[in-house]
C-alpha cells in the first residue's frame, strides 16, 4: 500500500491563482458584511453599555477640567447612570484623559479618554471638523450608517504578551456632549492581561457610509495604554465535585468594570475548538464576553462529558443590597490546557453593564462556594 500516492493525489487538489484571488477578495467582503451586521446587532444590544462607557469616560476626562461640566454630564445621563456619586468617584480614579489627535483632510480625530481593567478597555474618541464647524452628514445618511473602511482592523493596534484572543469593536454615534461632533467608542477585550504602558497607534481610514467614502483620509492617533486598573484578585483555592469531576476554584478577579473566575477542571479536553473571539449577549440584564472554545471533556476514568457541563457552573456576583448579577454560562475561555494531560484551566468572564463600585459587592458565589469580598 503506497501512501505516498495519497500525498501526490492530494497535491493535485489546489486553488487556482484566480481562486486565491477570489478567496482574498471574498474574505474581505464577507468579513465586512459580517462586521456590519454584527455591529448593528451589537449596537442595538449593547447600546446601554456603550452609552454608559462613553458617558463615564467623558465624565472622567472632564472631571480633570471642570466639575461643573461633569455635573452636567451626570445630570444629563442620570437615567442611565442612576446618579450614583460613587460611580463618579471610581471613574475619576480609574479613567485617564488622553487628548491626542490627528487631523487629515480637515477632520480631526481626538482620543479623549480611556478606562479599563486587567483585560478590558474602552477608549472614546471625538471626530470633528478641524475648523470647529458642525460636522454634517449628507442628506439621508444617519450616524449609524457610518463606518471606517478599515473597521475590520479596528482602531488600536495592541501588543499582547502571549498568545491570546483580542476582541475589538468600534461604534460611531452622536456625541452626547457636543452636537457639532461625533463620538467613536472602541472596546478592547483580551483573553490575557493587557500590557499597560505600551504605546498604541489607533488607525482609522476613510470614513464611509455603505460603499461611499465620505472622508478620504487615514488618521493615526497615538496614545499610551494607561489607566488605573482597579482589578482585585482574590485567591480562593476551594474545591467541589460535580458529576465525579473535581473543580478547583483558583481565584476570582473583580474590578468595577468586569469580573473573572479562574478555575481548574480535573479533566482533559478531548477535542478543542479555537473559534474566533466574540463579544456577545448584552441584551439582558448582564452582558458576557465569550471566548468560545468548544470542548468535549473527558474525565480521568475516560468517560466523555458533555461540552455544556463545563459551562454550567453557576456564578453570581451579589451586591450589598442583595441584587444578584448572574454570569451567563455559555462561554468559557481555557488556558494552557493542551499542555496538560490532567487539567483544563477555565476562565469565566463578564463585562458589567454598569460601573460597579467594589465596595458595593458583597460576595461572589461559584457553584455554592461563597467568596466574601469583605
Amino acid at each position: 500500500m503506497d501512501l505516498d500516492k495519497y500525498k501526490k493525489e492530494m497535491d493535485d487538489i489546489h486553488y487556482t491563482k484566480k481562486g486565491k484571488e477570489n478567496l482574498f477578495e471574498n474574505t474581505k467582503i464577507i468579513a465586512k458584511e459580517k462586521q456590519q451586521s454584527t455591529s448593528e446587532f451589537k449596537k442595538v444590544r449593547s447600546y446601554r453599555k456603550y452609552a454608559i462607557a462613553a458617558t463615564l469616560i467623558v465624565a472622567s476626562s472632564v472631571t480633570v477640567l471642570a466639575t461643573d461640566t461633569l455635573q452636567n454630564i451626570v445630570e444629563i445621563f442620570s437615567p442611565i447612570l442612576g446618579g450614583n456619586s460613587a460611580q463618579t468617584e471610581i471613574i475619576n480614579e480609574i479613567g485617564r484623559p488622553i487628548n491626542s489627535s490627528d487631523t487629515e483632510n480637515n477632520i480631526t480625530i481626538t482620543a479623549d479618554a480611556i478606562i479599563g481593567d486587567e483585560t478590558t478597555a474602552f477608549i472614546v474618541y471625538t471626530l470633528e471638523n478641524s475648523d470647529g464647524t458642525t460636522f454634517e452628514l449628507p442628506t439621508g445618511v444617519e450616524v449609524s450608517d457610518l463606518h471606517f473602511s478599515n473597521d475590520l482592523i479596528y482602531g488600536s493596534k495592541i501588543e499582547l504578551a502571549e498568545f491570546g484572543g483580542l476582541s475589538q469593536t468600534l461604534s460611531i454615534q452622536e456625541n452626547p456632549n457636543d452636537p457639532n461632533s461625533l463620538q467613536i467608542i472602541e472596546s478592547l477585550t483580551s483573553s490575557k492581561p493587557l500590557i499597560l504602558g505600551q504605546n498604541v497607534t489607533a488607525t482609522f481610514s476613510n470614513l464611509s457610509y455603505e460603499n461611499n467614502i465620505l472622508v478620504n483620509a487615514t488618521w493615526e492617533v497615538d496614545y499610551n495604554l494607561d489607566y488605573g486598573d482597579a482589578s482585585k484578585t482574590i485567591p480562593v483555592n476551594e474545591t467541589f465535585t460535580k458529576d465525579n469531576i473535581i473543580y478547583e476554584i483558583d481565584n476570582v478577579v473583580v474590578s468595577p468594570i468586569s469580573f473573572r473566575a479562574n478555575y481548574t477542571v480535573h479533566a482533559v479536553p478531548d477535542e478543542k475548538s479555537f473559534s474566533s473571539t466574540e463579544i456577545g449577549n448584552s441584551g439582558e440584564e448582564t452582558s458576557s464576553t465569550i471566548f468560545t472554545e468548544d470542548l468535549e471533556i473527558k474525565s480521568p476514568s475516560g468517560e466523555f462529558v458533555d461540552t455544556e457541563f463545563i459551562d454550567n457552573i453557576n456564578i453570581a456576583v451579589t451586591k450589598n443590597n442583595g441584587e444578584e448579577i448572574k454570569i451567563k454560562t455559555e462561554g468559557a475561555s481555557t488556558g494552557p490546557s493542551t499542555d496538560s494531560d490532567e487539567y483544563t484551566f477555565v476562565t469565566k468572564y463578564l463585562v458589567f453593564d454598569d460601573i460597579v463600585p467594589l465596595d458595593e459587592i458583597a460576595s461572589i458565589v461559584v457553584d455554592g462556594i461563597k467568596i466574601d469580598l469583605k
Binding site: 500500500m1 474574505t27 478543542k272 473559534s275
Partner: protein, 168 residues
C-alpha cells in the same frame, strides 16, 4: 504587514492546506471551499498572535478541523447543492476506484483525519495529539487501524476487479 497583507500572506500559504484538510474530513470539495473561506474570515476578523510559524500552522489546522466539525453539527450541512467545482480549484479525477484518495475516503472520518495529518502534513503522533486534542495512544491506534482498514478496502476492490462481470 497591514491586515490585508497578512490576509494575502495567509491565503497564499494556507489556502491549499485548509482545502485539503477540509476535504479529507468532509469528502466534499464544495464544503471544503466553504470551510476554507470561513477560516480566512475568522483569521481576518480576529487578531491572533502566533508564537512562530509552527504555532501558526497548527492553530490554523485546528481551526479548520473545528470548522469542519461545526459544519457537520449544523443543520445546513444537509443543504442541497450541486456538486460543482468552480474555477477556483483544480481537482484531478480522484474519485475513481483506483485512487488511493478514493480508498481513504471510504474510511471513517476519525481515521481520515489522522491519516491526512500524518501522511500528508507529516506530523508525528505527539503533534497530531496537540492539534486534535486526541491522546497520543489514540492517535497511534487510529493510524494503525486506519492503515489496516485501508489495506482491506484496497484488497477488496482489487478482488472485485479480478472477479468482475464475465469472470469466473
Amino acid at each position: 504587514m497591514n491586515k490585508d497583507q497578512e490576509l494575502e500572506y495567509l491565503v497564499e500559504k494556507y489556502s491549499d492546506t485548509i482545502l485539503r484538510l477540509s476535504y479529507s474530513y468532509l469528502k466534499n470539495l464544495q464544503d471544503a471551499q466553504d470551510i476554507t473561506q470561513n477560516v480566512f474570515v475568522k483569521l481576518y476578523t480576529t487578531n491572533y498572535v502566533f508564537k512562530n510559524s509552527e504555532h501558526e500552522k497548527a492553530f490554523i489546522l485546528r481551526m479548520t478541523i473545528n470548522s469542519c466539525k461545526d459544519l457537520l453539527k449544523n443543520s445546513w450541512k444537509n443543504k442541497i447543492c450541486d456538486f460543482e467545482i468552480s474555477e477556483n480549484i483544480v481537482t484531478p479525477n480522484f474519485e475513481n476506484e483506483n485512487s488511493i484518495l478514493w480508498a481513504v475516503n471510504q474510511l471513517d472520518e476519525k481515521y481520515r483525519m489522522i491519516i491526512h495529518l500524518h501522511y500528508y502534513e507529516g506530523y508525528k503522533a505527539s503533534e497530531i495529539s496537540k492539534i486534535t486534542g486526541i491522546t497520543i495512544p489514540t492517535v497511534y491506534t487510529r493510524l494503525i487501524r486506519g492503515r489496516e482498514l485501508l489495506k482491506h478496502i484496497l484488497e477488496e476492490e482489487k478482488g472485485e476487479e479480478n472477479y468482475g462481470p464475465g469472470q469466473i
